[in-house]
């Protein structure tokens, strides 16, 4: 596995060179000599890449050049520590190196999955899509070995990406309201817009979405999918202004989860233009929720009034029968 990764990194490093493309570990010899010749240039880049590394984001476009440097830096520092490993290895730099490797591996996985999303309409949410994605990045399709839970990883990656986008949008709206540049929406409208925005992100993959949902329901994927769902619902309510600290916290999130799931299922079977029927369904469900809340409030105030009436009647009776007097 580690050799495979090194091979992959070597492949990425030398992508621009005509001699080597994606290659397994057998090209390590060539790589090391070429690496040493690049070392001086890399030293100049190391400072930049160190500052880049500290603020590394996972978006593939901006980080493709950064990861190139980071891969390189990981290798050059690895080489240096290997060469000097006879002496006392500095624990800080080895930790940092492990962190670098960890980060670049995750970033690499994220990049492969992001590239694989393009092939989902063709191959579905499967290992073939991941293999196609890896190949489109110039890596060998054997890199699907990095994803033991292949289709699950792909779907979860897509979902977490959508959730992050949603959170960004909501935070941006929140800022605008704070700055006074936008009007504050009513809760029902806010929820409606948030759910619609999030569901629209699935539209490009709507053909294969039933498959994605069934993948999410597999037992080993359920914990992760529930976690993503609950953080998304929590974020939506937070930006809707919910600051409750009692049972309302739970009921609100349960209601929104039900809303979101049922609307998602309706969307799968919707064939109207631009999913008009789905948004109409969403409107109706939100209206139901609002009505239920109003009814609950009314019932409670009625109940209180009735209780007070009964208390009054009881006191009156006691007065009439003389039980209230202290004799």
């Amino acid at each position: 596995m580690a050799a495979l990764l090194r091979g992959l990194r070597a492949g990425r490093l030398l992508r621009g060179l005509p001699s080597v493309v994606a290659a397994p570990a057998s090209t390590n010899q060539q790589c090391s000599s070429l690496r040493r010749s690049f070392h001086c240039a890399a030293l100049r880049l190391q400072d930049e890449s160190k500052s880049d590394k500290s603020s590394a984001s996972s978006s593939s476009s901006s980080s493709s050049s950064t990861t190139h440097h980071e891969h390189y830096q990981a290798h050059s520092s690895h080489q240096d520590t290997e060469a000097a490993s006879q002496q006392d290895p500095d624990p800080n730099s080895s930790d940092r190196e492990q962190d670098e490797e960890y980060e670049t591996e995750e970033q690499l996985q994220a990049q492969i999955l992001a590239a694989a999303l393009e092939f989902v309409p063709l191959h579905g949410w499967s290992m073939e899509a991941i293999a196609a994605g890896a190949e489109s990045l110039g890596l060998s399709s054997a890199s699907t070995g990095m994803f033991p839970n292949g289709s699950g990883d792909l779907v979860l990656h897509f979902i977490s990406q959508c959730n992050s986008k949603l959170t960004e949008i909501l935070a941006e709206q929140h800022n605008q309201v704070q700055l006074g540049q936008a009007e504050r929406k009513k809760t029902a409208d806010f929820l409606r817009d948030a759910v619609e925005t999030r569901l629209r992100m699935c539209i490009p993959y709507i053909e294969t979405w039933p498959q994605a949902l069934s993948i999410l329901l597999l037992p080993h994927n359920i914990p992760d999918s529930l976690k993503h769902l609950s953080t998304m619902v929590d974020d939506i309510w937070y930006y809707a202004g919910d600051r409750s600290t009692d049972m309302n916290w739970y009921t609100k999130r349960a209601v929104l989860t039900g809303l979101y799931n049922t609307t998602e299922l309706v969307m799968l079977q919707d064939s109207s233009p631009d999913f008009k029927d789905t948004w109409a369904f969403l409107d109706n469900r939100i209206q139901d929720v609002v009505n239920m809340a109003t009814t609950a409030k009314q019932m409670q105030s009625t109940g209180e009034a009735v209780a007070q009436g009964l208390m009054g009647a009881a006191v009156t009776l006691k007065n009439l029968t003389g039980l209230n007097q202290k004799r």
Binding site: R184, T187, T245, Q300
Partner: protein, 223 residues
């Protein structure tokens, strides 16, 4: 009340600044209210610390909520008696603690415990049933409950001091203040004839068991 809460929730961002000013004006001396410039809880370093903090805050919130309901139960029975004003005064301080924890939970997006309805009923039942045994019963209940709460806060203070006192300065200050308030309630209870031995023993045992189970239960079930 619901409508007020609803509007308060919906208009939250607009009310942040004036609420802050109102809160600092409402400050009754000792408790330093949080302004938006800093928070009592330091921003978490990593996932682990965040979870630890959230657990702690959740249990504390549950404890204050329970204490609030206990006093409510006592007031429901003894509200119109001679000890009414005394219990009301102690209840008001507990309400302030609960408000503070509500604020912290909302700010830090901490999930409240799912057992809140249970503490609601249990607390009210405990307060009401001990108050039915008269003033001594109510005071004995107060003494036992406040003693367990103080122990709980003390162990939290110890844990925070052991881990990193400088990082948690404001939080430690707040918990120490709350613990001192609870000790005051404990002493008040003792002053007002809680020492009828048999009653006291019964309640000390029951409440200590109950409260240890409450805090352990919340910790276990909410993790």
């Amino acid at each position: 009340m619901h409508r007020a809460a609803h509007t308060a929730l919906c208009d939250w961002p607009q009310f942040v600044k004036p609420a802050m000013i109102r809160q600092s004006l409402r400050c009754t001396g000792s408790l330093q209210t949080s302004s938006r410039a800093y928070s009592v809880i330091p921003p978490p370093r990593d996932r682990e610390e965040e979870e630890m903090m959230h657990r702690m805050l959740r249990v504390d919130h549950a404890g204050e909520y329970g204490a609030n309901r206990i006093y409510a139960g006592q007031m429901a029975v003894l509200g119109r008696s001679r000890t009414g004003p005394l219990i009301q005064q102690m209840w008001d301080q507990e309400k302030k603690h609960l408000a503070k924890f509500n604020e912290i939970l909302a700010e830090n997006r901490v999930r409240p415990t799912a057992l809140l309805p249970l503490w609601n009923l249990a607390g009210f039942a405990l307060g009401a049933s001990t108050a039915l045994l008269g003033k001594e019963g109510a005071m004995a209940c107060t003494v036992a409950v406040e003693e367990s709460i103080s122990e709980h806060y003390n162990s939290q203070i110890r844990a925070l001091m052991e881990s990193d006192p400088e990082r948690y300065t404001e939080l430690l200050q707040m918990i120490k203040e709350f613990r001192d308030d609870e000790m005051d309630h404990h002493d008040t209870g003792l002053e007002h004839d809680a020492e009828s031995v048999s009653v006291f023993l019964i309640f000390a045992l029951d409440d200590r068991l109950l409260n240890k189970n409450i805090s352990k239960g919340s910790v276990v079930l909410n993790n």
